[in-house]
């Protein structure tokens, strides 16, 4: 649950909610990219992705508490920057490794199996991750160190945009650009696109499909890791169930944009963020989830392949 609206600010109105929605939406987009890339390449709804994100945030929390010992925004700026940098290094690495391991151990032996078999395995992995999170940090939400200051950068304009919001944007936007460049302009990215289009043909062209899939899982995991650090710093609380909720939003975002489509995931994430914040503001927080899924259903009714998804014919 994302609940960050600070009531003390004077009525900022529509623009404020839009801004907040875009910030939160870029977080969803980051998680959605992991879903969409994996789906694009092996057509698997990776139910474990949200829980990977949750485990990532627990690792980030461990990094903040244990080696650095920096737990408040009052610490020297250098220490804070170092802590955040370390988190942004360790957590994505951990998530990428874990994701690749899971792919190697669980999904890879099932490459030739029916789709449902793999999806059920993914549900199994998700259960295991969730239980690990539960055993690790208990059932109640844990406070995440509040490292980034809440000073408003747009003081005087009537809008609220803090250092935290800036952090989200400053991390997510370059990450997404880097990913796009990687997929579009590098050889490995080309191999990924080829594999997504037709694995058999890609293999015939000499592409090591297993390696490409592993790279996809690594990238998706790393993105979830980045997102989990930012999420922890932004929301300031983590718990073992957050993977489900946020994963669901992110997956919705991916489908909304057209699953398998990278710009689509970003667009979907931003849309979900904005819609969520606006419905929270105007309909009350408890209806925002229902509105999000309602919009998803309506969009799919009129564009069954998502907003940016290509209309493909089912292969016979």
């Amino acid at each position: 649950m994302v609940d960050v609206w600070v009531a003390s600010e004077p009525s900022a109105g529509f623009l404020q909610f839009l801004l907040l929605g875009l910030v939160i939406g870029s977080l969803y987009a980051l998680i959605a990219l992991g879903y969409t890339m994996v789906y694009g390449i092996i057509e698997l709804i990776n139910f474990a992705h949200g829980d990977l994100f949750m485990l990532g945030s627990f690792v980030a929390l461990g990094v903040a508490i244990w080696p650095m010992g920096v737990t408040s925004a009052d610490a020297p700026t250098g220490a804070i920057v170092a802590t955040v940098a370390l988190m942004l290094l360790v957590t994505p690495l951990f998530c990428a490794l874990l994701n690749v391991t899971v792919d190697r151990v669980v999904y890879r032996p099932l490459r030739q199996s029916p789709k449902l078999t793999v999806i059920v395995s993914a549900i199994g992995v998700s259960f295991i991750f969730m239980n690990i999170g539960l055993l690790w940090r208990g059932a109640t939400p844990v406070k995440f160190p509040d490292l980034i200051s809440d000073v408003n950068l747009l003081e005087g304009t009537g809008l609220r945009f803090t250092w935290k919001d800036l952090l989200v944007v400053a991390v997510t936007v370059p990450t997404m650009i880097a990913l796009t460049v990687f997929v579009r302009y590098t050889t490995l990215g080309k191999a990924m696109r080829a594999t997504a289009q037709n694995p058999v043909a890609a293999q015939l062209m000499g592409i090591n499909v297993h390696r490409v899939i592993a790279v996809t899982f690594a990238l998706g995991g790393a993105l979830a890791g980045v997102a989990s650090v930012i999420y922890g710093l932004y929301i300031k609380a983590v718990d073992y169930q957050m993977g489900f909720q946020n994963g669901l939003y992110a997956f919705t975002a991916a489908v909304l944009g057209g699953v398998g489509n990278i710009p689509g995931a970003v667009l979907g994430g931003l849309l979900i963020g904005v819609v969520g914040e606006l419905s929270k503001a105007y309909l009350g927080a408890k209806w925002s989830e229902a509105v999000i899924f309602g919009i998803l259903i309506v969009v799919l009714l009129f564009r069954p392949t998502g907003l940016l998804g290509a209309r493909t014919r089912e292969k016979v």
Binding site: Y39, E43, I45, V106, P109, L110, S113, P114, K115, L116, T117, V118, I119, V120, S121, I123, G124, V125, S126, F127, I128, M130, N131, I132, L134, L135, F244, L248, F251, T252, V255, V259, K286, W287, E289, A290, F293, G294, L296, I297, L300, L301, P304, T305, E314, V316
Partner: protein, 380 residues
Amino acid sequence: MNVLRHWLPILFAVLAVYPLVPGASANRGEQFTILFIYAILAQGLNVVLGLCGLLHLGIAAFFGIGAYTVGILTVGFFPFQQSFLVAAVAAVVISALVGVLTTAPILRLRGDYLALVTLGLGLIVLYAIRNLDPITEGTKGISPIDAGPLPGWSGRNLERWRLYPDWGHHWSNYPYFYYLCLGLLGLVLWLVRNLEHSRLGRAWVALREDELAATCMGLNPARLKLAAIAVGAGLGGLAGALYAMALRTTGNPQTYDFTLSMLMICCVILGGMGNRRGVLLGTFLLIGFDRILTGILDNQIQALVGSASPYLKLSGWRLIIFGLVLILMMRFRPEGLLPARRIQHELHPEVAEALGQAAAEAELASSPAAPTTPTPTHKP
């Protein structure tokens, strides 16, 4: 071996005798009742997922709709105050109706998109239940559900049929309700069996195997899918109605969330998609483990170790156990414990071939009319 073949009637017979055994625990009997109810829900999902092949991720919604229909129609502070029979019938009809109405517009979505939208529908129902406080009592749940079984009956009428003192005063406690649920479970299994062999059931299987081919043979996929959803949702509604009556409250809306849908999918897959006996076995194993066995084992462990640390409790590891079971099943026996024959043949072509060969040979051996026929040269 022959005895094991007929495990289903034996299991039913044992369960039917259980409440009559002197000293049988009433608590355990109530846990069994819940097990029967989940088994009915799983059969509903089996029709949708196992027979028709629609990955529906929101089956819990129908369970919830059934439970809340009974709650609203029977409870004292609403003006309806119907008996359980009326409320249960209404629950089945309303669930089936909601199933059909929500699925009709999304039928043209395929595969994973359909799965996601059903998940979304399930969540919307859950949020609606949680948020519509004036109707559903929000997170408190509707209680006490205290209706008599039939119009004009109260639970007290049944008291003179009491065999043991711990059979309780309310009919939904024990064991009248136990027998009702067991009987309904048997009825549902019979119904699903008949459906399977009917024209409708065979059309569902054809659709599951190859939608395009089935359409070319003149089947109407939209109508068939809606029929499957109607049956599945109706059974889900029935299970929900029984659940609310058994607990005498609809409980926290959290009961009807995504986890339940997932758990039911696990039951269906573990037991054997498309095989009603397998699904029953899967449900009894998985839900029985979760609801009954972990409790017993936890007490044993605690008595043995003398510590109540969550790391030593089986219930603290339940999701890891579920997850491992799912992953290992998918890896080594994706067709489930008791597979539907067709699905097993699909997943293990070499076994199917061997079986076909064995069957052909057995046929030869048992037919003395053709003793000169050489071993079959063609492979079936």
